[in-house]
């Protein structure tokens, strides 16, 4: 029912916006010192790609996000599944998790650089930390939210603890795990950009902050653009991973 007229709207609206911006900026209605025309931004982007500066910063940030993401989410999923299945474990750990969870992890960043210094370790750690609890809680909720019926089927057909872990808890919690991972990606991006803003020598956040500090406005917009693109890429990657991990789900 996607009328062609609507699709048309969806294409012209962002283009239109850019065009209006370009015109306003070029005619000086919008102060080009603060709102440089998109064409200039694109030119700066091209320059920065050519000089290798931009790919370098993107690579640095991507690496931090990826490593931090894996380090944070894998243990979170395993522990989350275990906590979802085992009540004593849940009772033991939940109060601690609940206490740490609501702390915005960027607030811990000073603490982390206290202990780990300002190198890669602290950046990877802050990403991992900011993800860990979110994924843990989502995974656990996924197991807890599973219909008892699945466990009953498993047990009635002879499944032991291990089989229940792999054939019920894990696949059953998968949708919630991915909900968690997707949210986590949002948080990871904020946190890494924040951490790079606060103190770093490379990365997209650093690029934005340095451009801001030296008043290189176009480069700052380039940084924002790239951040948005990182966000899209992350979303696409996770969507793809989700389809891969859950072939049993209806596609639409």
């Amino acid at each position: 029912m996607n009328g062609p007229s609507y699709r048309w709207l969806a294409v012209i609206s962002p283009l239109g916006l850019l065009l209006v911006w370009e015109i306003l900026s070029r005619t000086g209605v919008a102060d080009p010192r603060f709102f440089p025309p998109p064409s200039t931004i694109i030119r700066t982007l091209a320059d920065m790609v050519r000089s290798g500066e931009l790919p370098f910063h993107i690579g640095v940030s991507l690496r931090r996000i990826l490593i931090g993401f894996v380090l944070g989410s894998v243990p979170a999923v395993l522990l989350g599944l275990a906590m979802g299945l085992a009540r004593p474990l849940r009772a033991l750990l939940m109060p601690i998790v609940a206490a740490i969870y609501p702390i915005p992890k960027i607030a811990i960043y000073p603490l982390i650089i206290f202990y780990l210094g300002i190198g890669e370790a602290s950046k990877v750690t802050i990403v991992a930390l900011s993800i860990f609890f979110l994924v843990l809680l989502n995974t656990m909720a996924g197991v807890l939210g599973l219909d008892r019926a699945y466990f009953n089927i498993a047990r009635a057909y002879g499944a032991g603890a291990r089989s229940i872990f792999t054939t019920v808890a894990m696949p059953g919690a998968m949708p919630q795990i991915f909900t968690g991972l997707k949210l986590a990606m949002g948080f990871a991006l904020i946190v890494i950009v924040g951490a790079e803003l606060l103190g770093s020598d490379a990365g997209i956040g650093f690029l934005i902050w340095r451009s801001y500090q030296i008043f290189a406005i176009e480069a700052m917009y380039v940084g924002l653009l790239v951040t948005a693109m990182l966000g899209w890429l992350a979303t696409i990657a996770l969507d793809w991973l989700e389809r891969l991990a859950m072939p049993w789900r209806p596609t639409n």
Partner: protein, 265 residues
């Protein structure tokens, strides 16, 4: 017409079974002093108002949890075979496993080689007419097909006793009638002992040799109505048998008050 197989030797005896659940305030008595027995190869239906403890009873029989009081005699599980197979109400398959994997699910936990697992599962899927859907996932099937998968899964383990918990409850009446035909056909080939829980008078009468009527919670056996209609039970002949109208009127009489009472709470 398929010859009716000789009955297997697997009786069920339930004596004074009660079940108490912990509830928000104190406890909730789901079953109270339930006693009955099912003969080997008998198709026995249980009918009762919602919440009267039918599922609870079947889960006790399947060994998912113990009864609070009373004893249950049912053939014990054997390695390589699931002597008592349970077919569930509502959600009956694991949505993340293919039709084949679902059908193999019981065998996977027994000492059965992967190759034999597959052979046996595919054979049962053929019997329920789903061999074309071996690699499909449950969401690609209709509700009725999913229930057929869960029947195949139960049959793959070659059980002596089938415990069926409203397997057709989520189907529309028409598909239900078709599945009843299929169940009767399958049962007549093997003659397992069947305990079949249902809400439907018509289904109970159509399928079973005997109907146990339960009271509203705490559930007890209120009445026992033998169904002496001839087998095989073809829809047209059953419906036109004058005995049918009388049986359904009789069952409804026994049930009506219980349903009204269950509604109150």
């Amino acid at each position: 017409m398929i010859a009716t197989a000789p009955p297997r030797v697997a009786p069920i005896t339930v004596r004074g079974v009660g079940k108490v659940y912990p509830a928000r305030r104190g406890s909730f008595v789901a079953l109270h002093d339930v006693s009955f027995s099912v003969a080997p190869g008998e198709f026995c239906a249980i009918i009762g108002p919602s919440g009267c403890g039918k599922t609870t009873l079947l889960h006790i029989l399947a060994g998912l949890f113990p009864a609070s009081t009373g004893t249950v005699e049912i053939p014990p599980q054997e390695p390589g075979r699931l002597v008592t197979a349970l077919i569930f109400q509502g959600i009956s398959t694991l949505p993340w496993l293919t039709v084949l994997q679902n059908t193999e699910y019981g065998l996977r936990h027994m000492r059965v080689s992967p190759a034999e697992r597959r052979t046996r599962a595919v054979e049962q899927l053929r019997r329920v007419g789903l061999d074309r859907f071996v690699d499909a996932f449950p969401h690609q099937l209709s509700e009725g097909m999913r229930q057929r998968v869960s029947i195949a899964r139960a049959l793959a383990t070659d059980p002596d006793v089938l415990l069926m918990d409203e397997p057709f409850a989520n189907l529309d009446e028409q598909n239900r009638l078709l599945l009843q035909d299929e169940l009767l056909r399958l049962w007549q080939e093997n003659r397992q002992t069947v305990l079949f829980v249902t809400h439907s008078l018509d289904e109970a009468i159509r399928l079973s040799d005997r109907v146990l009527v339960m009271t509203s919670a705490p559930g007890r056996i209120k009445a026992e109505v033998p169904v002496r209609l001839a087998r095989p039970r073809e829809f047209r002949s059953v419906r036109q048998d004058p005995e049918y109208g009388a049986l359904s009127a009789k069952l409804w009489e026994a049930l009506r008050d219980e349903v009204l009472r269950a509604r109150q709470t």
